[in-house]
Amino acid sequence: MFGPFRISSPLSGGLLWKIPWRLSNPQKRRQRKRLRLVDKVVATVDSALQRQNMELGRNVIRWKEEMPSEQEMRPKDKYTMFDRKEKKYRKGIHKLPKWTRVSQRINPPGF
């Protein structure tokens, strides 16, 4: 009844991992918050280097060129990502391993 090995539907066999196919509203809100926090870190690094008239590193330049900020991203890209095996080529971003600690912002054009 209780304890770590209690009988529950996901544990008693079969493929019953109830991971929802889309994010809930609070999950989406926290995702946006995390995106903004990363934007803020990059902006801080960028402005600190420019104030010292130091060259920006490869990483910073590339991020600024390629990565959209949270405001510029489409909702589709914030909460879903490309996957060639999925119907309509999109899956929820929470299917990505360690999705709260990695940056997954851009998807193939047209998908």
């Binding site: 690094v45 600190a48 060259e55 920006l56 990483n59």
Partner: protein, 86 residues
């Protein structure tokens, strides 16, 4: 001389060895640990590798651990009077 104040907000458990290596190199061993590193391109590159895990701000002075601890210490709420001589 400006410094980056870097605080580890998210743990690196389960992340690639390279990411954990960057954190070790910066001296961030556990969550909420803070280090001060001079503003230069190489530090910036290190921060970019772990940008999802840390909070960064630019400060003028680097503080030691003891100084940061003293800043966190609350006011004791009393003071000890000195005996008046004479």
């Amino acid at each position: 001389m400006p410094y980056f104040k870097i605080t580890l907000i998210r743990s690196s458990i389960g992340l690639p060895r390279k990411t954990q290596g960057v954190l070790n190199a910066l001296g961030l061993r556990k969550r909420m640990a803070t280090v001060f590193k001079p503003v230069n391109p190489s530090t910036a590159g290190q921060i970019m590798k772990i940008k999802e895990l840390v909070a960064v701000s630019e400060v003028e002075q680097a503080l030691t651990d003891a100084e940061m601890r003293a800043m966190r210490k609350p006011d004791p709420g009393y003071y000890i009077e000195k005996p008046v001589v004479g």
